[in-house]
Amino acid sequence: MSSPKSQSAADPVISREDFLKFKEFFYRRTGIHFEDSKRYFVDKRLAERIGATCTGNFHGYFTMLRFQASGEELQLLTNAMTVNETYFLREEYQFRCLVDSILPEIVRLRSISRPIRIWCIPSSSGEEPYSIAMYLLENWPGINEWDVEIISSDIDTNILRRASQARYSARSVQNVPAPWLRKYFRSEGDEYQLLNEVRQTVEFTRVNLAEPEDTVKYREFDIIFCRNLLIYFDDLSRKTAVDTFYEALNPGGFVCLGHSESMSRISSLFRVRKFPEAIVYQKTKESK
C-alpha cells in the first residue's frame, strides 16, 4: 500500500469530468470556487485525501465524501484546500472599512457613555486583535472620544498563551508600516515584541464557538471579526456560531467574515451591507 504522501505515478487519475463533478459539489457545500487553473492544486490535494482515506480512487473517495453523515472528511478536505496563514494586517481592507464606514455608522446612533465593543474570533496568536488595536490608534480620530474594548477568543489555550505573550517573527510583521513597528514593537534578535501599550488593550478568553454554553455571557458587541474560521466548521456548528453572533451583537451591529467567506451557506439572519471598502453583514436595527 502506498503511503498517503506518495507523489509517484501511483497518484489516482482524476479526469476532467471528475474534476467538474467535484468542483460543483465543493462549491455548493463550501462556497469555494476553483478555476481551471487550480486543477493541479486540487488534484494533488484530492490524491492526498484518497490515499489518507484508503478509498483507492476518485469515485470511491467522492462517494464517501458525498454520503458521509458526519461531514468529517469534508472538513478535512476543506482544511487541505485552503491556506491558513496569519500575520499582522491581513485583509487590511476590512480594517479600513471598520474605520471609514462601520464605526461612523455605529457612533452616529449611540451615546458616548457606552464603550464600543469588538469581538475578534479566533484570536489565533493575536495578530488580528492587535492589528485592530493599532489600526484604531493610528487611523481612527474617534479613538480620542470613545472607549473601545477588544475581546479576542480561541479554543486553544496554548495559542491564547502565545497571543498574550505577543512575540512575533519577521514574517508575521512584514505588512506592518515601519513607523508602527518602531512605535509599538521592540526588536529582539529576529523577533518582535509587542509593547504593553497595545498588548494590554486586548482581553483574551477561551471559547468553543460550537458550544452555546461558552458564549452565553458574550453580549452587547458592536462588531465581530470572524475571519477564516467558519469554513472549517460543519454545517451545524456553523449555524450555531452565527446564531451566537446574532445574540452577541447589539441591533445594528456588524459581522466581518474572511475574504472568500460568505453567509450564503449558513444563514440569512444578517443583512448584506456593501461599503466602499468591503461587504459586511449587519444585524437589523429594529430588534433588541
Binding site: 479526469s15 469530468e17 471528475d18 467538474l20 463533478k21 460543483e24 459539489f25 469515485h59 462517494t63 458525498r66 454520503f67 458521509q68 453523515a69 458526519s70 464603550p115 465593543r117 488595536a133 484604531l136 490608534l137 479613538i143 480620542n144 472620544e145 470613545w146 472607549d147 473601545v148 474594548e149 477588544i150 475581546i151 501599550e197 494590554q200 488593550t201 486586548v202 482581553e203 478568553t205 455571557k217 458574550y218 453580549r219 452587547e220 454545517d235 449555524k239 446564531d243 446574532y246 444563514s267 440569512s268 439572519l269 437589523t284 429594529e286 430588534s287 433588541k288
Partner: protein, 212 residues
C-alpha cells in the same frame, strides 16, 4: 489612551427573571417583542413535545430571526408528527414559508440517524399529485446521506410524467449517478426528445457516469 481591556460579561439589565417553565415559554412565544419570542423558541427545544406549538407559531411568525430559531429547535426535537406537518408546508403559497420548510426538512434528512423517520415522508412526497411538491421532494433527497437515493431518483426519471420533476432528478444524478442510471437516462432522453434542458442534463449525467 482610550483603548482599554474590556470584559466579556455585561451586567444583566433585565429586572424580571427570564421565563423558563414550559408554560412561561409558550406564553413568551406569543410576546409582542421579537427577541423574547426568539429566546422562547430556543429554550423550548428542551421540552420534548413542544414541536406542535413551535410549528404553529412558525406558520404565522413574521420575524426572520424568530422563524430561524423555531426551525433550529424543531430540527433538534425531531418529532415525526412535526416532520409530516412541515412537509404539508410545501403546499403553501407563501414562498418564504415553503422554502424554509424545505430547508428544515433537508436538515432533518442530512443526519444519518434520521433516515428512517424522514424516508417515508419523502417517499410519499415523491408521488404527490402536485409536481412542484415532487420537485421539492427531490431537493430534499439531495440532502439525504444515503446511496439509496440513486434508486429513488431512477424511479422518478422512469415514471414521473412532468418534465421539471425529471429535470430536477437528473441534476442530482449528475452528482450521485452510477452505471445503474445509464439506461434510465437514455430512456428519459427518448421520452422528452424536444426538451433541450433535459437532453443537456442527461448528456451531462451520462458523461460523468461513464468516467467512473
Amino acid at each position: 489612551m482610550t483603548l482599554r481591556r474590556g470584559t466579556t460579561a455585561r451586567q444583566e439589565t433585565q429586572s424580571s427573571p427570564e421565563p423558563s417553565s414550559y408554560n412561561e415559554l409558550t406564553a413568551a412565544l406569543e410576546s409582542a417583542d421579537p427577541p423574547v419570542r426568539r429566546y422562547a423558541a430556543r429554550e423550548l427545544l428542551r421540552f420534548p413535545g413542544a414541536g406542535t406549538i413551535l410549528l404553529n407559531r412558525f406558520k404565522r411568525e413574521p420575524e426572520n430571526a424568530v422563524r430561524e430559531a423555531i426551525l433550529t429547535s424543531l430540527i433538534r426535537l425531531d418529532e415525526p408528527s412535526v416532520t409530516k406537518e412541515l412537509a404539508e408546508c410545501l403546499r403553501s403559497e407563501d414562498t418564504t414559508l415553503r422554502n424554509e420548510a424545505i430547508e428544515a426538512l433537508r436538515e432533518l434528512a442530512s443526519s444519518g440517524d434520521r433516515t428512517d423517520s424522514i424516508s417515508p415522508v419523502v417517499a410519499s412526497l415523491l408521488v404527490d399529485s402536485d409536481p412542484d411538491v415532487r420537485i421539492f421532494a427531490v431537493n430534499i433527497l439531495e440532502s439525504m446521506r444515503h446511496p439509496e437515493v440513486e434508486r429513488w431518483l431512477i424511479e422518478v426519471i422512469e415514471r414521473d410524467p412532468h418534465v421539471n420533476v425529471c429535470a430536477t432528478a437528473v441534476d442530482l444524478l449528475c452528482e450521485v449517478g452510477t452505471q445503474a442510471a445509464c439506461e434510465p437516462l437514455l430512456r428519459l432522453k427518448e421520452r422528452f426528445p424536444s426538451e433541450a434542458y433535459v437532453q443537456f442534463a442527461a448528456d451531462l449525467a451520462l458523461r460523468r457516469i461513464r468516467e467512473i
